[in-house]
Each structure stands twice: as C-alpha cells, then as structure tokens.
C-alpha cells in the first residue's frame, strides 16, 4: 500500500478509535486553521454565514 493510502487508512481509523495523543495533534492543527471548513462543514453554514448544528438542520425539516 502506498504511504498516502496508508495515511488515509490510519486517519480514517482515528475517526473510530480516537487515540488521545493523535487527537491532540489534530486539535492543535484545527485550532490554528479554525476557519478552514470542509465541504461537509460548509453544508451547515446558513445564509448569515453562521454554522448551524446538524441537529438544528435536521429539526428544521420537521417544522
């Protein structure tokens, strides 16, 4: 397996396993790039530019 694919696999496993040491490094990076939203994150940004929670979005559909 190529190194890039292996990295993707390990980071994917991290989403399941939540290794504390690795998570602290991820959190550190995310704190410095807090404005960097993924495409998934952008789905939850409303017209005012505020980030809605997924729960709020789901509940809106029930109204």
């Amino acid at each position: 397996m190529k190194t890039e694919a292996k990295l993707s696999s390990i980071f994917d496993f991290q989403r399941f396993a939540h290794n504390k040491k690795l998570q602290s490094l991820i959190d550190d990076t995310e704190s410095r790039y807090a404005c960097s939203l993924t495409d998934d994150d952008l789905e939850w940004v409303n017209a005012a530019g505020e980030i809605e929670s997924k729960d709020t979005k789901d509940n809106d559909g029930d109204k």
């Binding site: 397996m1 980071f11 399941f16 991820i26």
Partner: protein
C-alpha cells in the same frame, strides 16, 4: 485466547456504541440513515461474533472494519459518496488481514507527527484527515502550490520509514 460468544453482544454494544456512532455520523450526514447504519453494524457484529479470531486482529480492529465497510457499502448504494473519501484500498469484504490498521499505528503516527515541523504536520493532517483540497492547504500554510507539492513529497518520504 478468550472466546467471544453471542452473549457478549450487549457488552460490546455498550463499549463500542459511541465509537461506531461517531464514525458513522462523520460519514453520513442524515441522522435517520446514520442510526439505521449503526443498527445494521451491530446486527452484523452479533451475527458474526463467533467468527472473530483474535489471532488475526484485535476486536477493535475487527469491529472498525465491519463499521467502515458497512458505511462505504451504504454510501456506494446511495451514490451520495464523495470520490475523495473512497480509498483505492477499500476492501469489499470484512477481511481485516489484507488491510490491517491497529491502535499501535495510531501511537506510531502520533510520535512521528510530533517529530515533524509544524507546517509539515499541519499539511499531513489537513490533507489526510481533514481532506482539504491541496490548493486550500497551500493558502492556509501561506505557500505556493508548487512549494506545497515539494513540502508534501518531502514529508511523505519522512513518514515512509514508519509506515512500511
């Protein structure tokens, strides 16, 4: 070796429910569908628990593999997946031997990332964990796209020794 039976399903459910639900919700935005997938995963775990072989993988890795494959099968079926999220190495079956990841690898990767410079570490996390577009990563790091490619290749070479 301690054998695991169907009677252990309840304790496995309690121990792994949050991990499975967290992983599933990170991949599937629709809450109702995510809950359905979590139920599907637990059914598969309980149905196959007596086939689990601790000599081949840890219970955590085995459960993760079932979880991941169930999620990707669902995404493929719904055709709602993003191409970037599908690994070229995604196995079609719950065969953990060919594509083994382990808790040890997470510790090793964390140790290796600590040895990198801040820019190198951010680059790896933003590309391979956050799945950000490389041009956006270049912007965030304040480098040109060409510089990012050079930095990426150099960092990958450093990590290759660990990940072999």
């Amino acid at each position: 070796m301690t054998a695991i039976s169907k009677n252990d399903c309840e304790s496995i459910f309690k121990e792994y429910r949050n991990k499975i639900a967290g992983y599933v919700s990170s991949k599937i935005n629709n809450r109702a569908e995510a809950e359905d997938v979590v139920s599907d995963i637990f059914l598969k775990i309980c149905k196959n628990i007596e086939k689990f072989d601790s000599a081949k993988a840890s219970l955590s890795t085995w459960i993760y593999t079932i979880t991941r494959n169930t999620v990707y099968d669902r995404l493929k079926a719904a055709r709602t997946f993003r191409i970037a999220e599908l690994s070229d190495n995604m196995p079609s079956q719950e065969n953990v031997e060919d594509n083994l990841v382990s808790e040890d690898m997470l510790d090793k990767l964390a140790c290796m990332l600590e040895k990198l410079s801040q820019n190198e570490r951010d680059l790896i996390i933003l590309i391979y964990y956050k799945k950000l577009d490389r041009k956006r990563v270049a912007d965030f790091l304040g480098v040109t796209y060409g510089q990012l490619r050079y930095l990426h290749d150099k960092t990958i070479q450093k990590l290759e020794k660990l990940l072999k």
